[in-house]
């Protein structure tokens, strides 16, 4: 008997990717009875599911972000390397290298295998476990940066540019817009590796997840909250220092606490000038937690899948390139996935209570 094609047991529904024999969804955009969650970003980890299966780190992140009562009525942790079976469907979680706890979902049914990778990258990230390719019949991939113009430079090089700028402008604070989960902690780790052992100053909206990362074993060093303005209209503080905040904070009154900030942003989009210009960024840093073009193609090759499903991003270009390599590409057009780099931007001022 030949193995069934994954398309016969894994379906795209308005509620997301649904595993029929296992009766569960992967990263569903709305509340469902049973969900497997790849990682804690808000367009993947939604609140109020009945039962949630995820890595222990992802569950902890969901509890921190959604609240204990909304992170799944039943939570089941599955560590990488462990396997369970539900209704004959084998389930494993394998590191995806995107953020702490991020995992690919490996499903086996009757000799056929699908890997749902969630978001992933192949670059080294000192704040999470590295992606491991798993050979499969169907590989489900993101395509956020699926154009050959996207080739992320080494993140270490971008951090070096940041530190050079800090030296050049000692009278100004460097404010870096980041996502609260993942980018923030990765950047902190990269800064520490580059020898920056001064305190790193954080917007209130970033404190909770950094504390959680530390609790889960990440060493982030001396982190401090950005102090309040001494008085309204007083000159800014933290000249010569590095400050992290949710992107968007640079446009709010909160930023007046800082000494003439050099507004930086760390994102894969910063490779395109117009994007950086439109955001008013003074120092664009190309640091991404998503696979770039070369990584997407490298991964497609390594998982040896004859068929690749593309969830969101620039699927035209990826499907075109896959076809040239003899791989069948299929755009899934999933609803509810963020158009943007990572998760939607938080409301920074509210998060800080300022």
């Amino acid at each position: 008997m030949t193995a069934p094609h994954p398309a016969s047991w894994m379906r795209v529904t308005p509620q997301g990717l649904y595993c029929e024999p296992g009766d569960f969804f992967v990263d569903p955009p709305r509340a469902v009875p049973r969900a497997v969650i790849t990682h804690g970003h808000s367009d993947h980890a939604r609140p109020d599911h009945g039962a949630v299966l995820a890595t222990p780190e992802t569950l902890a992140i969901m509890r921190a972000r959604l609240g204990e009562d909304r992170a799944g009525r039943v939570q089941q942790a599955l560590a990488p390397g462990e396997a369970i079976t539900r209704n004959g469907v084998g389930i494993r979680l394998v590191p995806a290298g995107h953020v702490l706890g991020s995992a690919q979902v490996v499903l086996d049914w009757q000799g056929s295998r699908i890997v749902i990778s969630g978001d992933y990258k192949r670059r080294r990230d000192p704040s999470c476990a590295a992606f491991e390719p798993v050979p499969c019949d169907v590989f489900v991939t993101e395509a956020t940066f699926a154009l050959p113009v996207f080739r992320h430079p080494p993140a270490e090089q971008e951090v070096a540019r940041l530190l050079e700028s800090v030296r050049l402008f000692p009278d100004r604070a460097h404010l870096i817009g980041v996502y609260a989960l993942g980018k923030c902690q990765r950047l902190i780790r990269l800064l520490r590796e580059a020898g920056w052992d001064r305190p790193i100053w954080l917007h209130g909206g970033l404190m909770a997840l950094c504390a959680l990362y530390e609790e889960l074993g990440a060493k982030l060093g001396d982190l401090r909250p950005v102090p309040m303005e001494r008085k309204r209209g007083a000159s800014g503080q933290l000249a010569g220092e590095i400050v992290l905040a949710p992107s968007g904070a640079e446009a709010t009154p909160w930023v007046r606490r800082l000494a003439e900030p050099v507004v930086c942003a760390a994102s894969g989009w910063m490779r395109v000038r117009q994007r950086a210009k439109a955001k008013g960024v003074e120092l664009p840093l190309i640091v991404s937690d998503h696979a770039d073009w070369a990584e997407l193609l490298q991964t497609a090759e390594e998982v040896q899948a004859p068929e690749i499903w593309v969830t969101h991003g620039r699927e035209d270009a990826l499907c075109h390139a896959l076809a040239q390599r003899g791989v069948r590409g299929r755009a899934l057009h999933l609803v509810g996935r963020g158009e943007e780099d990572e998760e939607p931007e938080a409301a920074p001022a509210a998060a800080d209570g300022a």
Partner: protein
């Protein structure tokens, strides 16, 4: 590593809004880059670099040979700019270990390389560079380099870096050519100050201070001279054995925009004056002059429609003779003599405005209603021509501003230090909406005049009264009245309201005034000079 160093500088300059930050970046570049590269970089920044440009098609062909057409098209669609797309998509070749080219090397090779060998040479360079370097190279070799830096700013950075005065640099600058080795040698104390000899260089301008109420007491008809202050642009006409140049106030060579003036400069002198659009001896509103500014090429039609002339008011050199140490009265006499002898086309003399007392002068100022008169210039009769803004020698005394009470309609976030503040305001006045009601029509935009306290208050008010957002712009509740001051109101076909304001600024916030009681558009229309006659 010199092209990469220049590329990094360009990238940072493009994204850096602040003047001081730009100066830091430039100083660092001049200090850390070697000759001749920094000189070529300087020329590229100041727009004085000429190099044989490659056709954009050359780059197009190169990238087409190396990429899939569908992926290239999708990428171009996404990125927008083609040069940037090429810079980003250019496939990195494994095993390239040639160093990236120097800036001077690029310029020189573009000059001497036979056309047939250009593609291979440029491709070879692209292989050695990263995305930023490729972008700078493509823009450079196709002649499309644009830098958000004025020549004056680059020279200011040179001055700060070297400790020389920026005016001293200006004086020698235009006699020099890229890569400016003698200039850098002088600035680093390794060589003599370059001698501009007979080149038509820019001579630093004498500038005026705004006259305040308290300064009135220092004025005296015996020691001071008055002239009208015309609303045009300040120019220095420099005609020497080495050629003719029109310099702007910021030391930019604007000769190309005004060929008819250059043609009229068939004399040997350096004179100072105001460039104006003039028809039959009448000065046209500034809006007309604007049509002629920042043009590389000027059509005959443009020249006929917006005829320019220069109203002269000072003389710095006659022939080789430097007049700048003479007192104003003596220079003026020399200017009048010279003018009577030379009679240059498209030029006239700024008339002196005689006065017997300060109160009389105040009356003269208040009575000036011609659109192109901004007010009065008052100059000390015994003063030499001194570079810069030395207090007490030249005063500008603008006529009392006009004002309207307008309603705030939109607000935009500022730049740099003001990027977290809504600091640019679009305001409007009432007019009939054609259906028996009233509507607001925008009449102008202002981003100055308020105090820091008022800015804080406005910012908060705007955030609390936003009705819609368009990117960085917020539309607000039509409920806040601002008193807007401006120097003049002029007809304009480019504005929806039909009126353009000169130098509008926020005079005060009228929290006491309901929006419905703000001024109407016809009030403003009556302030347009000449409105009554129309």
């Amino acid at each position: 590593m010199s092209l990469p160093a220049f590329a990094s500088l360009l990238e940072r300059l493009v994204f850096t809004p602040g003047r001081n930050a730009k100066l830091s970046l430039l100083r660092q570049y001049f200090a850390s880059s070697p000759d001749p590269d920094r000189g070529i970089g300087l020329a590229a920044l100041t727009g004085e670099l000429t190099l044989r440009a490659a056709k954009p098609a050359l780059v197009r062909d190169l990238v087409a040979e190396r990429t899939d057409p569908t992926l290239l098209a999708l990428s171009h669609d996404y990125v927008g700019d083609f040069a940037e797309t090429v810079a980003l998509i250019w496939p990195q070749r494994e095993g390239v270990n040639a160093p990236p080219p120097g800036l001077a090397e690029v310029v020189e090779c573009m000059e001497v390389t036979p056309k047939a060998e250009l593609p291979a040479m440029i491709a070879g360079w692209l292989d050695t560079l990263d995305a930023n370097g490729r972008f700078a190279l493509i823009k450079l070799v196709t002649g499309g380099l644009r830098v958000g830096v004025s020549a004056r700013l680059a020279k200011t950075a040179l001055a700060e870096w070297s400790g020389q005065e920026v005016d001293a640099i200006e004086e020698v600058w235009h006699g020099l050519e890229p890569p400016y080795r003698p200039l850098f040698a002088w600035l680093e104390g390794q060589g003599p100050r370059p001698d501009p000899r007979d080149a038509p260089v820019f001579r630093p301008l004498m500038l005026a201070h705004p006259l305040e109420e308290a300064d009135l007491g220092t004025l005296d008809p015996a020691t001071h001279r008055a002239e009208w202050k015309w609303d045009g642009i300040r120019v220095q006409l420099s005609a020497t054995a080495g050629g003719q140049r029109i310099w702007s106030r910021g030391a930019e060579d604007i000769s190309g925009s005004f060929p008819e003036i250059v043609e009229a400069m068939d004399f040997r002198a350096v004179v100072d004056g105001e460039l104006l659009v003039m028809r039959d001896g009448e000065v046209a509103p500034f809006a007309d002059l604007q049509q002629r500014l920042n043009r590389k090429l000027v059509s005959a039609r443009m020249m006929a429609q917006y005829p320019v002339a220069v109203r002269l008011y000072d003389m710095l050199f006659e022939g080789e003779e430097d007049l700048r140490t003479l007192p104003f009265d003596a220079r003026r006499a020399r200017l009048e003599d010279w003018f009577a002898r030379t009679r240059p086309a498209r030029m006239d003399l700024s008339e002196m405005v005689p006065f017997d007392s300060v109160p009389q002068l105040e009356e003269i100022r208040a009575g000036a209603r011609e659109a192109a008169i901004e007010g009065l210039m008052i100059k000390r009769a015994d003063s030499a021509y001194v570079a810069g803004r030395v207090k007490g020698l030249w005063w500008k005394w603008k006529r009392a501003p006009l004002s309207v009470d307008a309603v705030l309609m939109y607000a935009q976030r500022g730049h740099g230090k003001r990027s977290s503040y809504y600091s640019d305001y679009t305001f409007g006045l009432w007019r009939p909406d054609g259906q028996g009601g009233e509507e607001l029509v925008p009449v102008g935009k202002a981003y100055s005049g308020y105090t820091d306290q008022e800015l804080l208050w406005l910012d908060r008010w705007i955030r609390n009264n936003t009705t819609a957002r368009f990117g960085p712009v917020r539309e607000v509740e039509k409920g806040l009245v601002m008193e807007v001051e401006f120097d003049a109101a002029q007809r304009s076909t480019r504005h929806k309201s039909g009126v353009a304001l000169r130098f509008p600024r926020i005079a005060r916030i009228r929290r006491d005034k309901p929006a419905a009681e703000a001024d109407r558009l016809d009030t403003l229309e009556r302030m347009i000079v000449g409105a009554a006659e129309e």
